[in-house]
């Protein structure tokens, strides 16, 4: 009967099992667990939604415009709801909600290679051959996800992409990757669910020898992943992935046409547009059931050619609608103060416009956006110089660790948290970054 200890089972299965076995002591343990858990939830129900712009977005055309200079490009800024903060004219919906967002305009991050930049921005650490640093979603999963025992689905979900690794925090904190349609491949059918308890019992018998023979940490990690998979596949919370599904016990409704249109538009934005909006809507549902970190991917930013037309006609309308919808929706549901929003890619793009009317990779001076989460929003922090080619002399430059430290602050994760690598090396949270003081008030 040690089934759930080893592989985890959801409440229904547990109760069915209990009814059959009439064992009372574990059941009592279980109930006290649920109560304890309710208390933790009250304490911390913070979440983070990361919008990841794969390819490296030209922030000089979106968040930090330089009209009238040689590097300024074709777009003009418009004023936003936040006094004194201007953004691209092709971001009107986002401009309306800018009281709840902020720009960090002086990111200076040195990694201008896709792989290295992706790693650096996600983890706060530059790549190092002797250690795999956890992506920040894994850190949040480790810090907050573990404490949310009512959460039966993975505590770090990546929609429509996903590359990060959990590194030394262990495979159970790796991103759970789903497509933008939210479909879970190989979800169990009824027969598989029925057979599961017997099969898991058999599995325990079969593999205990191998796990106990001394072969390192991988076998144990593999077992933990199975536990998470079993939790997931027997959970009602799966409904969060499907925007058409309702489950009143979880506070989830089938999304209305109006909501879907707000996020996804009428389809005119093309599949990519729909996919991004749909992913954000799914992210909101995942946050509703308690997932502390959701990454949503929007690609297509590697604009070495034809940057302005592509932004104007494709990327920005998609992005703008998505951000506007998410902020409005979270606000209406009273979730915005508990949900931090982060927007970044692996780097920005060159202020210089190349011969193909494109912009190349640029990490020396660019922007990130952060919002919600009870932060002091509606500001632009930091600045670049006149033509955007470097961080302004009087401005502090920021690293990804500072962004993640700000996120940690907003989520109630102590900034002095230290993790230990497999080699026993202490690793400071967010690589020792500091929360941006203008944002934390």
């Amino acid at each position: 009967m040690a089934l759930w200890n080893n592989y985890g089972m959801d409440r229904r299965h547990f109760m069915q099992h209990m009814a059959a076995a009439a064992a009372t002591i574990p059941a009592m343990n279980f109930l006290s667990h649920v109560q304890a858990n309710a208390a933790t939830l009250k304490e911390n129900n913070k979440s983070c939604i990361l919008m990841w712009m794969g390819g490296g977005p030209p922030t000089i055309d979106i968040w930090d415009l330089k009209p009238g200079t040689k590097t300024g490009g074709e777009f003009n800024p418009i004023q936003t709801a936040a006094p004194g903060v201007g953004i691209s004219e092709h971001m009107p919906e986002t401009a309306k909600v800018f009281k709840d967002l902020s720009i960090v305009r002086s990111m200076s991050t040195r990694e201008a290679d896709h792989g290295r930049g992706r790693y650096y921005m996600h983890t706060g650490f530059v790549p190092n051959p002797t250690v795999v640093h956890p992506t920040f979603g894994s850190v949040v999963s480790y810090e907050l996800g573990r404490k949310r025992s009512a959460l039966e689905i993975p505590s770090f979900v990546s929609v429509g992409g996903g590359s990060g690794q959990a590194g030394f925090l262990g495979m159970t904190h790796a991103p759970f990757v789903v497509g933008t349609d939210g479909r879970i491949n190989n979800a169990p059918g009824d027969e598989a669910k029925k057979r599961l308890p017997g099969r898991l019992e058999m599995l325990k018998v079969v593999e205990s020898n191998f796990i106990n023979s001394k072969r390192g940490e991988l076998p144990e990690a593999h077992k933990d992943v199975y536990k998470s998979a079993v939790n997931l596949m027997t959970s009602r919370q799966m409904a969060a992935f499907n925007i058409e599904k309702e489950d009143p016990s979880l506070g989830l409704q089938a999304e209305t046409e109006a909501t879907k249109a707000m996020y996804m538009g009428d389809g005119a934005g093309g599949m990519g547009g729909n996919g991004f909006g749909r992913s954000l809507l799914m992210a909101r549902r995942l946050v509703q059931v308690g997932v502390p970190f959701v990454e949503v991917n929007l690609g297509g930013w590697d604009l070495h050619n034809n940057v302005f037309a592509t932004l104007r006609d494709q990327r920005l309308p998609t992005l703008d609608r998505g951000i506007g919808a998410l902020v409005n929706d979270l606000k209406q549901r009273n979730m915005l103060d508990d949900t931090v929003i982060v927007w970044m890619g692996e780097f920005g793009r060159t202020p210089r416009i190349n011969q193909n009317v494109g912009r190349d990779h640029w990490a020396a001076s660019w922007s990130n956006v952060i919002g919600g989460g009870g932060l002091k929003n509606g500001q632009a922090v930091g600045a670049t110089n006149e033509d955007g080619t470097r961080v302004a002399d009087n401005s502090k430059a920021y690293l990804p660790g500072d962004i993640w430290a700000t996120v940690a602050y907003a989520m109630g994760i102590p900034l002095n948290t230290v993790h230990t690598s497999k080699r026993g090396r202490p690793m400071k949270l967010a690589n020792g970054g500091t929360a941006i003081k203008e944002l934390i008030g």
């Binding site: 058999m202 079969v206 072969r215 998470s228």
Partner: protein, 555 residues
């Protein structure tokens, strides 16, 4: 410092200084003694591997794990050479063979099998073009063409240097000359062959120069100019999408893609961080070629394989390091494709010597495979003890190869192993292409492409929840445990023989070993709870075997 035990090198500098002071005399005495014992230059490649790795144990004061038993080694060598576990029959035959040379013969047999060709084709197609299969009217490359090229290369055991020359310098139709697909896959963006330059040096030379595109290398003396000198070899390359009219629909559609050359004689211009413009001419390892060469890539390929400076060509070293990494899960450098002065190798002399020997055999891939597969370190158990637990490259330590490291099966290995373990290959589905197509379709659920100019991708496969869900619930697994006619389970259950024999066969088919007495007893106890529903009991047992740690890991 070079001859110090590695453990000492890891100590704080003052401690090292103190140790050198008191240890120096003993150390040099010991060195002399060893030099008398073994004349390293006379050792065969395999003996040299054994000797050098052994030396590493001594220097680090560790005791290696004992040799793996037949079962453990058998499963491993199948996975590493032919990309799948052995069939029930193959295991039985090998385990009952009592010849003292049976390991050696098995390696030779495996190297001559068609599955060896298939495995290396998969590995190298993935290395060159990734796991994706482009479709539609603007497909960037042909996976089929790439696979065809490697299939022929490995079937004929073509010298690796010839293969590299073809991959680097081919032109023409993507299926008639499949080698072009390597370049085509790196040319999906109009980027002045930057990606092609970076990938070529990384994959075939084991050098990561991509960051020197914009600045000098942060950790060694490679300069930005070098990247653009490499790059200028590739600036004559273009590709075009050739279309034709579909006679039925009347629509234009893709016929094929081809790689061709254009005249380009000039230097390459690039920008220093200071904004200063610079020029670069085609140059490799200090050797320049005439800028007006008819095909610069051919010149480049010639330089890659030439050894006139007395050093082993990097293409040999890169291949040896990568291949060693495939067998052990860790190469001599981490990562295997980032060699250079900034990243020292765990066994530099061994890497050098193996590369030299590899060149001496005429870049004979099968020989290299054979040396590693029959070596001592490869035959050690994956179990380790207190005496060698510091040998843990998973935690970032330099590998000492004192025990086998667990490797997660590649997705293709897992798929092929499932097919083998469940007899699905006996139902005789189509030929090579049909089987490849089926496996490719299955693969796509695990591939995530990044949307950028490096055309890189990740798999959501290894050790993740999606993998676990696949192993627990997929069509493939349902079929494997279905016990329908013609399936392995059906054959086994309906054959004559005792329950013990059936249990043995299930274990052998999935895990390449028989259960211990305790395991058999435990399994039978659980099976009793099925109250006579024998089929269900065996099905669930087989399900559990396939989902077990021991199945999923190559150990």
């Amino acid at each position: 410092m070079k001859n110090l035990p590695r453990r000492i090198e890891r100590m704080a500098p003052f401690a090292v200084a103190a140790l050198i002071f008191c240890l120096t005399p003993q150390l040099s005495a010991q060195d002399d003694a060893e030099a008398e014992e073994v004349d390293e230059s006379k050792l065969s490649p395999v003996a040299y591997i054994n000797h050098k790795v052994q030396q590493g144990y001594e220097e680090n004061e560790i005791t290696p794990s004992p040799m793996a038993d037949d079962e453990e080694w058998l499963r491993r060598v199948y996975l590493d050479i032919v990309g799948r576990i052995p069939t029930l029959e193959e295991s039985k035959n090998y385990l009952k063979d009592e010849s003292p040379r049976k390991r050696f013969s098995l390696v030779s047999d495996l190297l001559e099998s068609s599955d060896y060709i298939r495995n290396l084709t998969t590995v190298w197609s993935n290395n060159c073009v990734g796991r994706g299969t482009p479709r539609g009217n603007n497909a960037a490359f042909s996976r089929r063409g790439m696979e065809k090229f490697f299939r022929e290369a490995f079937a004929k055991n073509r010298p690796w240097n010839d293969v590299v020359v073809d991959l680097v310098a081919s032109e023409g139709h993507w299926e008639e000359n499949g080698a072009v697909n390597f370049a085509l896959a790196q040319m999906q963006m109009d980027d002045d062959a930057v990606q092609l330059t970076a990938k070529t040096t990384r994959l075939f030379l084991g050098m990561q120069v991509q960051c020197t595109q914009c600045h000098d290398h942060p950790f060694n003396k490679w300069e930005q100019s070098q990247f653009w000198e490499f790059n200028s070899f590739f600036r004559q390359v273009r590709n075009r999408n050739v279309q034709r009219t579909n006679p039925t629909t009347g629509r234009r559609e893709q016929d094929y893609r081809e790689l061709y050359l254009v005249d380009f004689e000039g230097p390459v211009f690039y920008e220093k961080r200071s904004g200063l413009m610079q020029v670069a001419f085609p140059k490799y390892e200090g050797k320049a070629i005439a800028p007006d060469s008819f095909d610069r890539r051919k010149e480049f390929a010639r330089l890659l394989v030439s050894a006139d400076n007395g050093e082993t060509p990097l293409i040999a070293k890169a291949f040896v390091n990568r291949t060693w990494g495939q067998f052990f899960g860790h190469g001599f450098t981490r990562p295997v494709d980032d060699m250079g002065p900034h990243n020292s190798a765990s066994h530099p002399e061994l890497l050098d010597r193996l590369s030299e020997e590899f060149v001496k055999t005429g870049y004979n891939v099968k020989e290299l495979y054979r040396w590693i597969a029959v070596s001592e370190p490869y035959a050690r158990s994956s179990k380790f003890g207190a005496d060698n637990e510091i040998d843990n490259p998973g935690a970032g330590e330099m590998p000492l190869f004192s025990h086998m490291y667990l490797k997660s099966m590649q997705a293709e290995q897992l798929y092929d192993s499932l097919i083998v373990a469940t007899n699905a290959q006996k139902s005789g589905r189509g030929g090579w292409d049909a089987q490849e197509a089926q496996r490719r379709r299955w693969m796509q659920q695990f591939v995530v492409a990044f949307d950028n100019d490096e055309n890189d991708e990740a798999t959501t496969f290894n050790g993740t929840i999606p993998q676990a869900l696949m192993m627990m619930n997929s069509e493939l697994i349902n079929k494997a445990v279905s016990a329908e006619r013609g399936s392995f389970l059906n054959d086994t259950l309906s054959a004559r023989g005792s329950e013990t024999e059936k249990l043995n066969d299930l274990y052998l088919a999935a895990l390449t070993r028989r259960p211990s007495r305790n395991e058999a007893r435990a399994a039978q106890t659980v099976m009793k709870a099925y109250r006579g529903n024998k089929v269900a009991a065996y099905q669930d047992l087989f399900w559990a075997l396939l989902n077990s740690n021991e199945f999923i890991f190559n150990h």
